[in-house]
Symmetry: none
Subunit: 260 residues, 2 copies
């Protein structure tokens, strides 16, 4: 349907849309268009298969050039989410992970409450073929899934982004008085801090020989990350936890040095 | 995103989706897919540019074959809507027509009420290039329009059908739609387990010399207990965390024993 496109009047703000290893340039373009339709502008790409910038994406964006031009490229989900304090993962199927699961409307309301409180937030969308890995879902605070027909549940990523963008716009409309959500009391740390804590912890545990047998390391890391993500630690809390880790490390090092 | 496609379990009922002179077979296919995603099955085509049936549409439908196979061809909007008692027209712009204008959620609620009362209903979607003519809008009872960014209002017909189909599904789920799957409820461990974990942790940290200066020990313990209570750990999770502690302790002990 026809409409106007005046880039100087595009809305801004809203969650970051993070596409993980998108394969088709056309999908990236359609995502940009869907974002523009509903006033979103922060597109982040993790290792798009065909590189970036990509003129095919621009062509499919139907003049959502401001979104394409502002898109940023990252080499990992961790890097793409580093400055965000709240991260949702979209999934089509139940996961074994113990995380809260929201519908798109509840997810949009939560995003709006957090962003209104100046806490940057984003949404992960997986690959066309197989979505997000379990490790990628682990990096998110909560899961969002769509109320689709269970017999035909496959949603294209551009469609999934469209629905979330629509719900974002909808959640800001006065007449659909969404219940007032309290801004979270705890200012969650940027994801970068959380991920660096995970790496610190896992590195320390490699030292101690905790991950035994080694083939269970991935599962053990998954369990630790899941339970420690759920706490929603703040920056000072993560500093405290890293202090705890350093204390254990120093203790073992002193014992070793005395030995030497 | 991946999902299941079992055509024998597709939902039925819901409004007729009427595409008026669609130009691109790919759009018809994507419309069929969007309908299948949200349980709609009655697709009606008014003079598609490239004729019907169309294998390009089937290819773009991503296995929504049951919708493509059941699609019906008409030579006028009047004929396509003949058996319906309530007809909505989608438009992107204000019209001169004095008709009630609904948002997608209100439109879906109205459709559901009428269809539940056995009054067949449908939605008109216009051409890719210029939507519906004023005469076609006149044939409808009411207008539905989407809450898009005014600076970037152009919605593809497949996107418009997706949003209306989504709202149709959503309108059947009740006010606070439950997502299709829920995280297993985390059974928080009895407090006794949590407190014994705290004592274990604090005892270990006494060993490492973490609590320094000692007069700050109470505050430091308070901070640790506060953040670790908030996660609501389950019994298995507390066992994991105690395993982590024991791993650090064993590591330091081995270092000491080597020294001895």
């Amino acid at each position: 349907m026809a409409g106007t496109n005046r880039s100087d009047e595009n809305l801004s703000g809203g969650p970051a849309i993070i596409l993980v290893e998108p394969q088709l340039a056309e999908n990236i373009g359609m995502v940009a268009r869907a974002m523009a339709n509903f006033g979103l502008g922060d597109l982040r790409l993790v290792n798009p298969r065909d590189g970036w910038p990509n003129e095919g994406a621009r062509a499919a964006a139907s003049r959502a050039d401001h979104v394409i031009d502002a898109a940023r490229l990252f080499d990992s989900v961790e890097a793409a989410a580093a400055d965000l304090s709240y991260l949702l993962a979209t999934t089509a199927r139940p996961r074994y992970s113990i995380k809260a699961v929201r519908g798109p409307d509840s997810a949009a309301a939560e995003l709006r409450a957090r962003i209104a409180a100046d806490r940057p937030a984003g949404i992960l969308f997986g690959r066309e073929r197989f979505g997000l890995s379990n490790e990628e879902v682990d990096l998110a605070d909560e899961i969002v899934t769509f109320p689709v027909n269970p017999a035909f549940a496959s949603l294209n990523i551009a469609q999934a982004v469209l629905l979330m963008s629509y719900e974002w716009m909808r959640s800001g409309l006065g007449e659909h008085a969404a219940p007032r959500f309290q801004a979270p009391e705890i200012a969650q740390a940027p994801k970068d801090d959380l991920y660096r804590f995970f790496e610190h912890l896992e590195g320390s545990l490699d030292e101690t020989g905790y991950f035994f047998p080694l083939e269970k390391r991935d599962t053990m890391v998954h369990n630790l990350r899941t339970m420690l993500t759920r706490a929603g630690f703040s920056e000072p809390e993560l500093r405290t936890l890293r202090g705890v880790l350093r204390s254990f490390e120093r203790h073992a090092r002193i014992a070793r040095e005395n030995e030497a």
